[in-house]
């Protein structure tokens, strides 16, 4: 093989620093050639190597007796009893979605699903926490509309229901949307497979779509460059990938059939860094090496260069490691599902990843497989809080143009227009779908389909406002909010996955945010006894050198132990009592980080309201229990927009008014002090409920009654249900449903 000594420009153009280049030189004991350099550059990119964040992620709690697979594999896996395991993972597709919103989101869904079936699980749910620039910005509308259509177009067609998510609009995401996608699947515990290649002589079979020039260098270009309006997006055009949900569906069914028949030793999806990543990861995890025949790769275009084939991010491909005896059957199943299959590799015993032109042909690259990720750089980047932190925290976020009724109308936004575009019912598991707090899915045996009488609660949550004000407490509050959402459908937390969406890690304040967020997440996950089983880090979320507000997003999963009927939901009956659970804030509670402060008051800083994590854990446990026992008629947690928004949502969905006493100023109505839940129940049950709640150490307060056709909130708000409804329901269809332009 020809080893050309490198001139400095090549590795830099590929995004490798001089130091990283020296490192490679040392590992190989010689200068790498271009192909080798390309392989290191994709594998050592931020996206694949987590080089800036790894050192912090180690502080997350990751263990519990029910955790079967923690972070580091394609997906986290937990044991939920009855021989059933649940695989779960979340990922970002932020940068691709900024350029081609539909395909960016579509391929985001496709990618995360492969992470799930790679583990041997059938994906049964997707969730899509989405964040866009403001609705009055045309390009942000275009991105939002495209992304939502992309999730819908791909998710519905591939046949996995999208059962929940978030949709947030804020200035901070203008130019840099956040498109995170979570997927969950179930599998019989004994079918768990891991992405490893072992057994010298075993074959690596590339399954699925042909390899084209999609996302060549996409890993480095798309994941490590911010977008500014001056640079022509055109440069990044060839990197866009197009998703094919039909190919994915066939690939999924074929892979599940291969797994059912026990035909694969290991299996790995092809994501970022394509074949380079899949071959090196499977080989090094299995303590093996691999010979890869580049001429065997089925490609979409003529004349593709080896480095293109090795780094292409073409979608809908998988790499299966099979014994030679099984090959015929593997090919038979592939043919039945109309899936292309090529033997592209052989497992070897020497730990080397060799790229060959024909198994007996020229050696194009040769490197120790494990060096591509085990030896990836790890940085302890400088971190520091912003210089003006103290000053910022001293601001009063409660000032602004107070008009409580008008403020309430302005803060309402029903996401139904979004989730009604998603099939959220497929597989007949959706007991509580999008539109309440958590989602609740029947848990059925993945082998027999038999009901277990139990259910899985899920929610995704993020809050850039809280995290901007205080990334540590803000992140803890986000985890608590997620836990409270699933408590509202009767589920107790078991595990968390997270997507850390942050700005440029070369900025010390961004690294500080990330580090603080990790600590806040650790504290809260420990308190809820919900270890982190997986995650994803997305950095360089910036526009014109301005970083986004820190946005850690968590996905939580928990169990409802005994499901006999639908949980109460957020809709109330007439003439019920309304009770508020959880610690009530003082009159002068801080408004910092609240939706009101950002959208109405215009102040983005201050100090977050006090947050009692221990009390919140206790309240969440109590809420889960009363939901399981059907003790209440309705339940809804207080989140964004505070009590006023939560009550309005209940009134709108029920079509029934409320009369609430007290809460006479905007602080009381819109503060976002954590850990509070609204419940509705009948008069006859009230007495005993209040007593029990107090006995359980959960503060409780009777605040009003349902009835009539208006929401009367203290002395400042008296709005008809009709008015509230149109303010909330019409906004998204009016802004996004009428067609959008790219700007």
């Amino acid at each position: 093989m020809s080893l050309a000594p490198e001139d400095a420009s090549v590795h830099r153009a590929l995004g490798l620093s001089d130091e990283e280049y020296e490192n490679i030189h040392g590992l190989l004991g010689r200068h790498p050639n271009h192909l080798e350099l390309a392989m290191y550059s994709v594998m050592w990119s931020e996206h694949c190597s987590y080089k800036s964040s790894k050192i912090h992620l180690k502080r997350l709690p990751t263990e519990a007796p029910w955790v079967l697979v923690g972070p580091g594999e394609n997906a986290g896996v937990i044991d939920v009893g009855d021989g059933i395991a649940v695989a779960i993972r979340i990922e970002s597709h932020n940068h691709p979605s900024a350029i081609e919103p539909y395909q960016g989101a579509a391929t985001g869904v496709g990618g995360i699903l492969r992470d799930i079936f790679t583990m041997g699980a059938r994906p049964i749910a997707v969730m899509d926490p989405l964040r866009f620039g403001p609705l009055d910005d045309p390009r942000s509308r275009w991105i939002a509309e495209g992304v939502i259509s992309g999730v819908s177009g791909y998710g519905n067609s591939v046949g996995v229901p999208t059962v929940g998510g978030e949709v947030v609009f804020d200035e901070t995401y203008k130019g840099n949307p956040l498109v995170n996608v979570l997927a969950m699947g179930t599998l019989p515990v004994e079918r768990l497979v891991l992405g490893r290649a072992s057994g010298v002589g075993n074959l690596a079979v590339l399954l699925g779509a042909s390899t084209g020039r999609d996302g060549i260098g996409g890993v480095s270009v798309l994941a490590s460059a911010g977008f500014d309006e001056t640079s022509e997006d055109a440069d990044k055009r060839p990197s866009v990938q197009v998703g094919d949900p039909f190919e994915e569906k066939r690939l999924l069914e074929a892979c599940l059939e291969l797994l059912d028949e026990g035909l694969v030793i290991g299996i790995q999806d092809l994501g970022g860094a394509g074949i380079t990543c899949a071959t090196s990861e499977t080989a090094s995890r299995g303590g093996a090496g691999m010979d890869v025949d580049i001429s065997a790769i089925h490609s979409r275009e003529e004349g593709m260069e080896p480095f293109e084939l090795m780094t292409s991010e073409s979608q809908e491909r998988m790499l299966a490691i099979v014994e030679p005896e099984s090959l015929d059957r593997v090919l038979e199943i592939s043919t039945r599902w109309e899936i292309a299959a090529s033997v592209i590799g052989r497992v070897t015993g020497d730990g080397q990843l060799r790229i060959l032109d024909g198994f007996d042909g020229n050696v194009l690259a040769e490197l120790p497989a494990s060096t591509l990720h085990d030896d990836a750089p790890e940085y302890d980047r400088p971190l520091a809080p912003p210089d003006d932190l103290i000053e910022r925290r001293s601001l009063d976020a409660s000032v602004g143009p107070v008009d409580c009724a008008a403020n309430l109308l302005a803060l309402l936004r029903d996401p139904a227009w979004v989730y009604s575009q998603y099939d959220h019912q497929l597989f007949l598991n959706t007991v509580v779908g999008p539109g309440s707090d958590g989602t609740l899915l029947r848990l059925r045996d993945p082998k027999t389909g038999r009901e277990t009488g139990r259910a899985l609660g899920m929610s995704t949550d993020g809050n850039h406002r809280w995290c901007h004000v205080d990334p540590r407490q803000g992140t803890a509050m986000v985890v608590a909010e997620a836990a409270m959402n699933i408590a509202c459908v009767g589920a107790e937390p078991m595990a968390v996955v997270n997507c850390l969406n942050f700005g440029n890690p070369e900025h010390p304040d961004v690294m500080w945010q990330l580090s603080e967020a990790v600590d806040g997440m650790s504290e809260a996950c420990t308190a809820f006894n919900a270890p982190v089983v997986g995650g994803n880090v997305s950095l360089y979320n910036e526009t014109n050198a301005v970083d986004i507000a820190p946005t850690p997003v968590v996905g939580i999963i928990g169990l409802h132990p005994e499901l006999s009927n639908q949980p109460p939901g957020i809709t109330v009956d007439s003439d019920s009592m309304i009770v508020l659970l959880g610690q009530q804030p003082k009159e002068d509670v801080s408004m910092a980080g609240s939706l009101w402060a950002w959208e109405i008051g215009g102040c983005k800083d201050g100090t977050l309201p006090e947050f009692d994590l221990v009390q919140t854990v206790r309240t969440a446990a109590f809420v889960a229990e009363i939901v399981q026992k059907n003790r209440v008629e309705a339940v809804h947690d207080v989140g964004e927009g505070g009590l006023a928004v939560a009550l309005a949502e209940m009134a709108i969905q029920s079509g029934i008014g409320m009369l609430i006493n007290g809460f006479d100023d905007h602080r009381a109505l819109f503060n976002e002090s954590g850990g509070r839940v609204i419940v509705a129940l009948s008069d006859t049950n009230l007495e005993s409920f209040l007593k029990e709640s107090t006995n359980r150490g959960v503060p409780v307060q009777m605040i009003g009654r349902t009835g009539g056709s208006s929401l009367v909130l203290g002395s400042t708000i008296d709005l008809s249900i009709a008015e509230l409804t149109s303010a909330s329901r019409d906004e998204l269809p009016q802004a996004l449903g009428q067609g959008t332009v790219s700007g």
């Binding site: 081609e100 539909y102 779509a209 999609d214 055009r237 866009v240 990938q241 039909f246 979608q315 790219s742």
Partner: protein, 83 residues
């Protein structure tokens, strides 16, 4: 003046075209053994009010770039038809 404009939007070369490839895979089963390289695009016809044919083309081109296609993955051609 009113001009009839025809806009053809097609997937860029090198970009995957799942619809085209699926149709292509189907053709042999229908007895069309001799066809291949299928690409599917969109064609949009509309009327534009403008002072001249050139002005109509400019309007249609703008519509095309900002609304009807995404140049990142699609090529578009605009044609003002004789009337």
């Amino acid at each position: 003046m009113r001009f009839e404009v025809k806009i053809e939007v097609s997937p860029r070369k090198g970009i995957a075209n799942p619809e085209g490839s699926t149709i292509e895979r189907t053709l042999p089963a229908l007895g069309f053994k001799t066809a291949g390289d299928v690409r599917v695009g969109k064609v949009i016809r509309l009327q534009v009010e403008a002072d001249s044919s050139a002005a109509a083309k400019t309007i249609a081109q703008d519509m095309c770039d900002r609304f009807l296609s995404n140049p990142v993955i699609e090529d578009a051609s605009v044609e003002v038809l004789d009337t």
